[in-house]
């Protein structure tokens, strides 16, 4: 029983950065923009988040620094892909290459330092309930925030007028433009939201997951977040399921390594990446009757006047 509880707790922790980053990217993609730079924005969020927390001694300041770093990175993307109408795939790749280099430069001075990780919720009485107490009432703030975030995005997209307009931009930017909506401004805001989320997701890693920073610590999580958005068919509800499934795969392979199943550890470490490929193939295959992706996803829009 204790082992099951421990596994659930670690699955929650491993899923949270995926969920936060994928939530931001989901909103970005619903506005019609494909930002492949999630990995770059995340690793910048990790480096700047750790730097902020270490210098200020506050996890909150660290998280904010991570979000600001992610947002600034996403603004570079917006300037290029939306302002200058550059190919979004190439721009996203450039953002990741830049982010990996820049985070190494910023984080170099902090390698080997440690901080006190984010505090976990502790409500006397509730947190002490056996088994479910710790799972429901004993998490760090990021875990609750990630769930609030995805509910908020769902509510925004399907229950508000601005959300409807954002989805319109993603499905047909020409119609949205003809109706008088500022397509590029809406998309810029969506890209910035995606950047802030990716930065926060990156910051989660050194602030709560492991209390130190190492270069390249995102280890492809940004790319897995991108795959999760495809997995979710661009729907918030499925995104939650997908993020926790992937967190579970990550944790199970770690535990399997601990149990000494006799399979080389490298094969177990490859599992999340392999799972991503298999899921992408199965889902794309199941979707024979037309794509569920936003219709204008990844296309260049230059307003004619």
């Amino acid at each position: 029983m204790e082992l099951v509880e421990a596994i659930i707790l670690s699955v929650l922790a491993a899923s949270t950065p995926l969920l936060i980053a994928a939530t931001g990217e989901l909103l970005t993609e619903r506005s019609g923009v494909l930002n492949l730079g999630v990995e770059g924005m995340m690793i910048m969020g990790a480096a700047c988040g750790f730097a902020g927390a270490w210098l200020s001694g506050s996890i909150l300041v660290g998280a904010l620094c991570g979000m600001v770093a992610g947002t600034l990175m996403s603004l570079i993307f917006a300037l290029m892909a939306l302002g200058l109408a550059v190919n979004q795939v190439a721009t996203g790749l450039a953002l990741t290459i830049l982010g990996v280099g820049l985070s190494g430069l910023i984080g170099a001075g902090f390698v080997g330092e440690r901080i006190t990780p984010a505090a976990h919720l502790d409500i006397p009485g509730l947190t002490d309930i056996p088994f479910i107490g710790n799972v429901l009432f004993g998490q760090d703030a990021f875990v609750y925030l990630s769930l609030a975030l995805i509910v908020g995005v769902w509510w925004f997209l399907y229950r508000t007028r601005p959300g409807l307009i954002l989805r319109a931009c993603g499905d047909n930017h020409l119609s949205a433009h003809a109706l008088g909506y500022p397509v590029l401004r809406i998309r810029t805001l969506a890209v910035m939201f995606g950047g802030a989320c990716a930065g926060l997701a990156g910051a989660y890693l050194p602030l709560a997951y492991t209390p130190f920073f190492i270069p390249g610590m995102t280890a492809g999580r940004g790319w897995i977040a991108l795959a999760l958005v495809v997995f979710s068919s661009w729907r918030p509800g499925r995104l939650v399921v997908g993020a926790y499934l992937f967190g579970a795969v990550t944790i199970l392979q770690l535990h399997a390594q601990g149990w000494g199943v006799g399979i080389p550890s490298q094969f177990m470490s490859a599992l999340p990446y392999l799972a991503t490929i298999i899921v992408l193939v199965l889902l794309s295959r199941a979707r024979t009757g037309g794509s569920t992706a936003p219709a204008a996803l990844g296309t260049v829009f230059v307003p004619d006047r």
Partner: protein, 363 residues
Amino acid sequence: MHLVLEKRAERSGTIALVSPLIAIGLTLLTMVILFAILGKNPLLALDAYFIAPLTDGYSLQEIAVKATPLVMIAIGLSLCYLANAWNIGAEGQFLIGAVAGSWIAVKTQGTDAGAWVLPAMLLLAAVAGALYALIPAICKVRFGASEILTSLMLVYIADLSLDYLVRGPWRDPHGFNFPTTAEFDPVATVPLLIEGGRLHLGSIIALLVVAAAAILLGRTIKGFEIRVVGAAPRAARFGGFNANQLVILTFAVSGALAGLAGIIEVAGPVGHLQPGISPGYGFTAIIVAFLGRLNPVGILIAGLFLALTFIGGEQAQIAMKIPLDVTKVFQGILLFYVLACDSLILYRFRLVFSNRQVTRGAG
């Protein structure tokens, strides 16, 4: 005030030629600022990066050695990108090629195997790279799965496979437990061009690849098909060109070239299989492909230039204690400027100060 893009009536030929130069100029300017922020003398740093490596013979050879994998991979990637197929997993295909070729080297180690070993290694590496690249290509055309994500996931899997082999079955028993195979036998090594130098046969192969790509794109129907499918998919469909078949073809070719580059790197400058054989060649080659404007000759020049940044980065680290990550930052910024300048070929940029001027400008 905001920026307005106006579509040009036709592509600007002049800007197409000078845009990489503008991009390099802007990147250097940005680097000067970055060096100043890091507290290094910008002029000395630029000298260490871009001038010093050009002044001695050893560094010049080293630039050619580093450019070899970059150019070979970038040529393959340019075919993919021209056909609008996004292979970004060349790093994985490079590693798998290195692993497959090394298999022969490891198995023939210490035997009296003859001169067939190296050609067999090169062939197997190319085949393995092509097969590895076919995984995302087939997932794309058969199931519609995004080739961007699948090809990238395969990089991590290739990296872990290599790691397993050199720590497990292929580890050198006399290697003091280091994760590496034994040094390859002379018959399994790419021969040097100059005795005692660094330049090896791989650089000649890279030049042949450039020539072959130039002929393919400029003189053959297949090359024409690749360009049409990427630039005008609708026209290509009316022309009866099979886009899916071209995705398969370009992925296979680029995978084969990346695999070949992998084994040449391992059997050449490195001499044995170990983790970390690539400082991100597969990703830097993406920049090389775009900086070279997806043109074979352009890629050759761009490959030499980015190789210079690798060598210059190492020298600047030794001479001025500039962190190696600066090279990656440089490469990332360069790609941004290249892409931004490419936009100038299709559009005219204009700053507009109020909405009224926009109306007047259009009317």
